[in-house]
Subunit: 453 residues, 4 copies
């Protein structure tokens, strides 16, 4: 564990991307390959058991592997060499069959895919939890009025439920994207030196099929050593997810500002305090999520740049993926986990939301007023009269309703009942409920179609 992992990452995902986990995934490939080649009649059963018995990460010396990889340029060469030694110590012949017909990149890429597969399952479940929380809040707060803000200024009222629904809607798309990516991209890599499986002669196809079965990884149409769109798509789709999470965290942080104070991360012993200011309550989950949102875009651009891999297997750009992709996965999953934890416990101050709606002395209702008047006196007349009234209200520090009531012309067109409604914070919400229902319905339909195990 690195010092910042608990803050920025989600332990169950971090654990999938430790050095040990990577080595074990690589060794899982080697063991599966041996079994697959047993099935294909290449490797004898005795060798397979000798090999698989040594495919355990704890048998390997990580420091030595790291140093040897620095010379070899590649972890697989080194690992295979150590594995051969371990196997040879027990069964000299068996050592000959280690890694048979495979190339370094087969091991490394497939190991990565295995790690990603596990990570995707956890991420999908976590998105499902976050989505459920948002669905609950969207429904619960469908009638909770809150200031709608545009360009960081008060615009017109909306509802808190509508805001949650819009976030849920984005998450519904992310779930769909990640399902597509999983299907298209998380496939076996197995091609030998230049992708043709030539070292296996006529038995390449049989071994590939058996290996795919062993690892429960679909076979691609053709090995993809230097076509990295699959790996890069994992990065871009997690990048999109992180963008949405960042947007949600950014909004929470804005709503948590002392002057706005509509939302807060829950207080908790040791959480969000200051080293010197007793009254501080810092939004820590937002900080971690925003940090991920600031970091992932640059990492995604690296993955896109690194797609230019030469010929059959590339130089340098492949290497550039090795640490970058795990960074993207662990940071995006960390942000996801932070918000999944936070959202159900978000402190929601609906009283303050009402107070903030009143901050502008009714000016926030000016569009509603214009719309109501427009149907009676035409839009441009309505707009110019409401403009004048809002300016007067702002200048004289009076409530807009007072100005309207004192203006004979306007008061004539708007009854008290109409004014009550126009200045009711919960009134001017248009299709908010319809939209919320549409989003909730889609969420339900996705849940039914793709139940989490």
């Amino acid at each position: 564990m690195n010092l910042f992992d608990p803050l920025f990452r989600w332990p169950v995902i971090t654990n999938l991307f430790t050095d040990e986990a990577l080595l074990q995934s690589m060794l899982d490939f080697e063991a599966a390959l041996a079994r697959a080649e047993l099935a294909a009649g290449i490797v004898p059963a005795s060798a397979v058991s000798a090999i698989t018995s040594k495919c355990r990460a704890e048998l390997f010396d990580r420091n030595q592997l790291g140093k040897a990889a620095a010379l070899a340029g590649n972890l697989a060469i080194t690992l295979v060499k150590q594995l051969k030694s371990l196997v040879a110590a027990e069964n000299k012949d068996a050592a000959n069959f280690v890694h048979w017909g495979a190339t370094s990149q087969d091991v490394i890429d497939t190991a990565t895919i295995l790690q990603l597969q596990r990570a995707f399952a956890l991420i999908a479940k976590e998105i499902a939890h976050l989505s459920d929380s948002l669905a609950t809040l969207a429904n619960k707060h469908r009638a909770t009025p809150i200031v709608g803000r545009t360009w960081m200024q008060h615009a017109v009222p909306t509802t808190l439920g509508f805001k949650f629904a819009a976030s849920l809607d984005a998450l519904n798309r992310h779930s769909e994207r990640l399902r597509e990516t999983e299907k298209r991209c998380l496939v076996l890599q197995f091609g030998g030196a230049v992708g043709t499986l030539a070292a296996l002669g006529t038995r390449g196809q049989v071994v590939a099929k058996a290996l795919s079965d062993e690892l429960k990884l679909p076979q691609p149409q053709v090995p993809w050593h230097s076509h990295r769109d699959r790996i890069a798509e994992v990065a871009t789709n997690l990048g999109l997810l992180t963008g949405t999470l960042g947007k949600i965290a950014h909004d929470i942080a804005l709503h948590s500002q002392t002057e706005i104070d509509e939302l807060r991360e829950p207080a908790e012993e040791g959480r969000g305090g200051s080293s010197t200011m007793p009254h501080k309550q810092n939004p820590v989950a937002c900080a971690a999520t925003l940090s991920a949102a600031a970091r992932v875009p640059g990492l995604v651009s690296t993955m896109l740049t690194a797609m230019l891999q030469e010929d059959e297997r590339g130089l340098g750009n492949w290497h550039a993926e090795w640490e970058t992709l795990p960074e993207i996965v662990t940071l995006s999953a960390g942000a996801l986990h932070h918000l999944t934890d936070l959202i159900p416990h978000l402190e929601i101050n609906s009283d303050r939301m009402l107070k903030n709606l009143e901050l502008t002395n009714g000016l926030i209702y000016s569009e509603a007023l214009t719309a109501a008047l427009a149907s009676k006196i035409g839009h441009s007349e309505a707009r110019s009269r409401v403009d004048a009234a809002t300016q007067q209200a702002a200048k004289e520090h009076h409530h807009l309703r007072t100005i309207i009531e004192q203006d004979k012309y306007l008061a004539h067109h708007l009854s008290t009942a109409e004014l009550d409604q126009l200045f009711d914070p919960g009134h001017y919400t248009g299709m908010a409920n319809v939209f919320i229902d549409q989003v909730l319905a889609q969420h339900q339909s996705q849940k039914s179609a793709h139940p989490k195990k």
Copy 2:
């Protein structure tokens, strides 16, 4: 047209993203909105015809619009104002109904979507053309031997057809991705000030439906003003496409190097010459494509960073998209068009491919040799003997076959017929044909499922 457009961009796509095209798309929205509100009983027919008659980009003063937008922070406000003036000059009442119930971002986002929709249709067709060319070459060159290279070094032989098939396979995935993006992301934006369509009261839903029909754009579950994953997905998926195109161009440029000379861009009057060196033939299409591949990743990262848009509609990050997204579309389409043009006319020098296979005095066949020997004398014995033979061959500058033939032990295990085969450049290609067939079959199946109109 800007000076560099013809080099970096594809004219038919550039034309979709000119200032005029943007304005016309925005005006198309305004006209469609008026018609939709006629259907909803909000706008009288006379006003609709007055409005739609003015929704023509050539009636607007672009310079004035640009300057006013600099004050307003937004093109829509300014455009709507000019449109109202134009309409009012003809029909004062009609001017009241311009832009009714919509917000600036509804116009701008929907106009962008309309532009993207047209661009996607052209891009999909171009990918189809490029894919067909690759399919033809994959099939035609399935038996053309070429050096397989890894880490920019000779590895083992492969076939040129296999290389084309691997590129086609990636393009098959890009076609699929862009179809998914089109379906998920190219939808109507229509929500009014904060997304609730409140200004349209109870008629929001009817207008939204009619507008969606008018523009032939699907309705989303909820407006997506500040949830930009749709727009960002357009960027990421074009980013992935550009990565693949860059990989292809990078490989062509490498193969065009004077010393390798296996592939060349076609010579053409005025194409790729040098201002001072008569013998130069520069790979211009590769240069343009590589340039796009260098530029798009950074632009994609901007789109991801810009996803953090505040509350109901954001400040600054929305603005960051306006020029960035068209850059991504025009650059990626430009790269696509360059390669689509180039690939069918690529000069393929298969004689040189054969010569290059011989450059290492047979060392390129050492893996094949090891594999053949391994089945007879065990892998580790085979590897150590072949290692020794390759070192001797390299040191003494003899052909590897000579060394083998002079080594009694090895010569004993390998007959002349076997050696003929092992040193045949077309022999050691494993499953290359199977892989090619699988890719071609998938290409065909995608074509049938998604015929281009």
Copy 3:
């Protein structure tokens, strides 16, 4: 002018980077080269006058240049060809001497440097103006209390002048950086085909010196065709500048939020209004600046990626610079110009600043209180008592001072005079004035050392 230029860019800078300006800079190079070669005895005087008379951008057909550049991969080849035709029409012999000994990249790079040189002069002056405005405000508002905010939460009081001084301090560094860049990076490019000036034989050095004098551009130690750190440094240092401008704009936007309302962009006809909401006053200069801050980092990463240019002159990555660098210059200069315009007219609401200081019922003074008490009762006793008091104040919605006064122990240690001071918003500002003075002094010293002409 493009539609978004007035919003995102500064016209005087945009004008330096138009197609016409680029062509003229390239032609300026060709004319200067002819004159330099006259001095070196290579080109006869008659040819020089024939050449220089045609080096006027308006004589060239931009559309044709663009299209020919798409074939040639390079604008210079095409331009030189047109220039030769124009010269030949008048003086056939003279045409032979056009572009003598230079390579395309000499023209294009030097033209870029000439454009940058002009841009740097304007940017330096604009930074000087912005710095002066910040200096004035730092001094004027050195005693204007405002909430200091950390992690987007109230922390302890500070002064508005201190905030301006911190921004000025950053700008002082940017001025210094850009001076260093100008000196190190804005130098002549002149090397011929591979940088050796071989085509000029023994006269290369003389021509290079004369050309440097003609263009008033320093000579580098060696041509830098494929070593792009100079060009990339222009990008990174403007990137740093844009980051600071974005930080300033971000803060202004935060302070302009309806609930905070401490700062505002000035109201102006047509500025920052909404298409539907009469009361909206959007921070347009902030939007444009934030947009630049979101875009420039990705563009900078492109420039860094593009540094990998092959051998003597690169393929593709050089091309990637052509539109990217002007984007960076015009966007960063646009942001600079927006803030330079805005800062002197920023509406400063110091009453509201005082009110916001009171929003937490005195909690903002808790650190001051702790510090004062710590010197009497020890820090940990002080902290735990102030913690308790702040919690009580928060819970009971009382002012912290009331709680303190009601607590016998605490009241015993703090006199009324001390409490008056501790709860005085202008009191707890530590070294703010010293820091302001240090920054102002450095600003003055830089101004004296580098007077703007």
Copy 4:
């Protein structure tokens, strides 16, 4: 040590950025602060010794720190709390004085600066070593002919020494940049909660001065908590350095291609081999360097994006720096170390360079020929005759010299002696030696001005 550290990083730099090293740097700050406050009469001597005795990283529980930091959002709060406990166990009063007057960011930022300072010293020395190697090779190979290549095509001859000199020239600039950065950016951070040092009352200045002396870090004009241009400049300047290193590695990799074979990484046991291909010799140092060059640009863009830190101390973007900046430092230093190791041992195959010069049957001398003829028959006549000759040579597969000699007109203008010279690979190198000398002189002058200790 992580598994990939030895491949991608330089151990002495990695060691500066371990968790332990970070904690120790933070504790160094706390100890220095206590001593500084002793000097200022704030903290008693007994407390200082109690505090400093506990400021040893090995006394702290890293796991617990990591987990607590995840709650606190910040490592300093947690560390200070543990430090207080440790101190209190020995001296209860002393615990009160821990971290007195400082804020979390003071500790974290200054610790980072201390780490950077050590890294910069090592990097400067390593650049000096690399520069010396390049200088030696530039001088040694000033007469070694090699193909000059542009757009990845043969252009005209140059010398290997010239190529090394151009790289040295870039490194000279990098040395200068990093010295500037060190001076401008590696300064103390000490401002307390909002930068005013208010908690220290009137003694802030004295403590700041003493702390600056203790840590041997210059004082800034004003604390820079939320103005991150200093930190970001470290990133951009290392980004520029990495770009140059990537360019050098890219060139070596290109020259190492089997068909070109002019340069090679040295063979070494375990270095660059293949898991299956006995003849492979992969350029591992290039791979690692290119990987850094692919990764750093995206990380730099993150640092620029993260400059937008709110108000007095920011939320999320500050956090984004914590892991990103060490990545940039360790990756760029790793690339630097790889090349510093490699360059003196680079295998240089000058025979092959000569052979490659002959690959085009003399076409590479066509510019020289044109230049020589131009002085006799005018440039345009010369160019068109040489064009014809090169085309004939290419078509008929004859050497260009043969064509020339068989052409009466041309043979008439060029004597045998002239032709000998024109087709001499070492002849057409223009000012190469002058440029080399200029670069070497500047290198010497920088060495004298800035001797490494």
